[in-house]
Amino acid sequence: MATTVVPPKIKPRRSPEPGHPGNGGFRDLVPTHGNLPAVQDYAPVPSKSAIWVVIAAIAMSFAAFTSALVVRQGASTDWHHLTLPPILYLNTLVLLASGVTLEIARRRVAVFMGGPRTLDLNPARWLYITAFLGVVFVAGQYVAWLQLRSEGLYLATNPNSSFFYLLTAIHALHVLGGLVGLTYVLHKLHRVVLRRSTLDSFSYYWHFMGILWVYLLLLLWMKI
Amino acid sequence: MAKFFAITILVIAILSAIPIVRNTWHPMEDISTHGQAIDKQLDDTMWEAGLSFLASQTILAWFIWRFSGSRPGEKSKSFPGGATGLVAGAIILVGVEIFALGIFGVKAWGNIYFTQPGADALPVQVQAGQFAFYFRYPGPDGKFGPLHADKISEANQNFFGLDPVADPDSKDDIVTAEMAIPVNKEIRLLMHAKDVSHSFYVPALRIHQDFVPGLDLQLHFTATKIGRYEIVCSQLCGLGHYNMKAYLDVFSQQDYDDWLKKQAAMQ
């Protein structure tokens, strides 16, 4: 471990830059007959819109899985409730905690950029903790599957187990995708320059994973 | 070229309309009690659609003819009333059309689906499987025996999976490869799918209903004309889909009774 903490290189929110195309976004800052050259360039960062596109698409796919669950339940009388492995609740706490640590990291980034460049702020550490908790979550989900297997409940055993494995696995897959994104954020932090927007977009995605998990947990608890 | 194009559009529109006007190809004669409303719906729609089609293609052709080329000396013009008139016109005209057709259509649909069969409707079961329809009549006891999927055997000609030994109700069930019904008698059709999705389409009877594996459905209808008609499968079910059909005979009551007796003797 290094004895000095290298201050993270974080780019502030985008200010007018030479060469940057400006004036996008919902609010159009330039009136039709305004004095165009005088207006400052400002553009919303595309990564924010992009991450909302991704979140919308993932939300729709889980909506599709939910309706598949509801319809499948109604189609037949072979629905056999299964008790959720208790480790799921622990995993939930872990994932929610990772959201908290992420927010700590973001706050530290904001403070760092705002003024005091004290070395013990160390937002990188909190991002590492978030990553660690993410990995613990996925591992915990795997343990939950092992617990179900030990009860003789496999993917095709009954529709309840099918949906359990399906929903938790696909969510875990997206969490792994988020971890890849977090790796990218950390890479930018250490190697190059981390844009504030990159960190923000990642955070939206990660929090969405948390919210989605809470939703899935409720769905599983009520229906499976 | 523009004028030639305009004429081509017009000619195509008129040529397309001719077979409709001359009724060259049309649905089979309706032999059902509920079909009149459907045919009226089709007729009304054909008028409205046909007139819209001819009018819009003609106006398109006319505007292409009239407003092509640089027409030096003439200024570009705007359609009188601009977009507002067209939008209002579209909403009002189309709105009225669809509202009317929609409302009347509910009745035509409801005649089949929102009415119940009478208590003395004749029950007939049809089973669809790759690639044939089989029919079952309840026999003198008026009851259908239960179906056992594990007993189905094409080889033994046990198409429905009946077990007459274990189930007394199955003993007098009559299984046939053709469907026959008496004329002017309400039929209660029970639909069962053996394997994949199929559909029961009898154009003359104005009946069209998919089979749903896992869900037994019921339809009812009355045929009003004696004759031989075809039932065809219209939901893709595999390689034999094109050939999956059966005959529907609408008999007089006497002929139907004779037929049923003959079928019962062959069980």
Binding site: G24, A57, A75, S76 | T45, A49, E74, L101, G105, Y242
Partner: protein
Amino acid sequence: MHDTSAPAAAHHGPPTTFIRKHVFSLDHKVIGKQYYDLGLAAVLIGMVLSWLMRIHLGWTNFAIPGLHLLSKTGAPGDVMTPELYLQLMTMHATFMVFFVLTVAPFAAFGNFFIPIHTGAEDMPFPHFNMMSFWTTFVAFCVMLLSFFVGDGPTLGGWTQYAPLSAVGSVAGPGQGAGVVIWATSIAIFCVGQLFGSLNFIPNILDLRCKGLSMWRLPLPTWAWFITSCMGLTSFSVLMPACVLLILDHVAGTSFFVASNLVINDQLQPHSGGSTLLWQHLFWFFGHPEVYIAIVPGMGIVSHVLITNMRKPMLSHRVLVYSFGALAVLSYMVYGHHMFVSGMNPVSSIVFSFPTLLITIPSTIIVLIWIGSLYGAKLRINSASLFALAFISLFITGGVSGFFLAQPSIQILLHATYFVVAHFHFTMAIASVFGIFSGTYFWFPKMWGRMMNETLGRVHFWCSFVGVYCIFMPMHYLGLAGNVRRYSSFPADYMSPLVGVHQFITIAALFTGAAQLIFLYNFIHSRFWGPPAPDNPWQGTSLEWSTTSPPPWDNFGGRHMVVYHDPYQYGVQSSKGDYVMQDSPEQVKTENEEP
């Protein structure tokens, strides 16, 4: 080395290596052209498959030379078996709907022109954009793979209804590995489209240049924006459906397969699944998909028409709102594919009303187009001919939809050739004519050369007359009760209709041959066409403010500023009757958008 002050979209400098220039390119223009070539390959495959199908339908026992090469068991003596017919039909539809109609008007032209129309240097995430093409390409290859596995491609139609699609090879040839390959390919395709949407939408929302408000975007870009929104919400429903279908095949689950099904006297091991679940999931995707296929074409055709009419549309905003209305309503109508499916008959009535309602925005769009033709100074060329024909074809297709929107009429027309006529008019012809119109119009900008105008017109005439000859008679067949997806017509009441099928086949082969004129023109012009000027059509939107083809950063380092609405035609300016979007020139009669 990264220049941290450079804008996000221009993180890559001009490409230097062959691989970066032509293969794994980050340049949206190259990606757009790659998509176009993919669409071209797919349409050739789809078209050849349709020729084979049509020959069989007209002449069932005809031995097509070489057919046995396409399938190990499906063409003994080169005569097509019923199963091969269905397999070819399924592949025809799959290639056409996914790899032509979603790729060409949307991914190809959209990729090329969205950054240019927004005055940007490239898409915001060029690496994801590159991945979107290559993912789609992988999906294409996987789909082709199904011709080479055991018993061939799946035969269940592009709609893959369960349980036929879910029970496995016991249900027929191609229903084992063929279905898994199909579902895998489509799932990969969905991912590719998502990568595209996540570029298109942020580009349009965030990277517009100075002075370019949303309302100043040209109509194709609005159409692509709306289509991207549809894509991200509909493909993300198809993918889960494909996942569930694959699981039913390989993992023994029973999402779609009910209990007690017996095939070939064998009781199937599945239980409890819902047949209709597949249809709900599929059509929730499937109906927006057909609007994804047509809305970009509407945008392109509007753009081409305006340039050639030398006047803007009667109302820019009404057209945009109508495209949006089509998109929103498209999610509420999907049940009209399921009127007689066995779902609750009340639902059928419920779905029929929004279906009828969707006639209104469609009618408004057509009326705006026709109304805008009034008083125009219409130029006739290949691009405008295809655009005008689009209107005629969309009218015909829309009118047949009016019948199918009603459950009571669907009792007669469901699953007949009437439906085949309807969707071919709207998708196969209108949408493809939109692609042709865009091709003839934008070819100079995309490839820097001019296409041959005479060949274009010959192509047009053969195609326009040809497609009406092919598909108009299908309405009559449908009225007569000719069921679709049949490899031949043994039923008593259908066999007299074979003569009509033969007429259609001849028309199809003739029209297909005419497409080779286009293919020749396209390829020849790419290499040997006369060099194109920057603005061959005197257009106003931003693509005409740069060279043909544009430089790697689209505008040669210029930072575009937009001063006008996109379609300032019919004005008096220094250039003539138009003023370009990025020209600071104030004009005498400014056409403000209403």
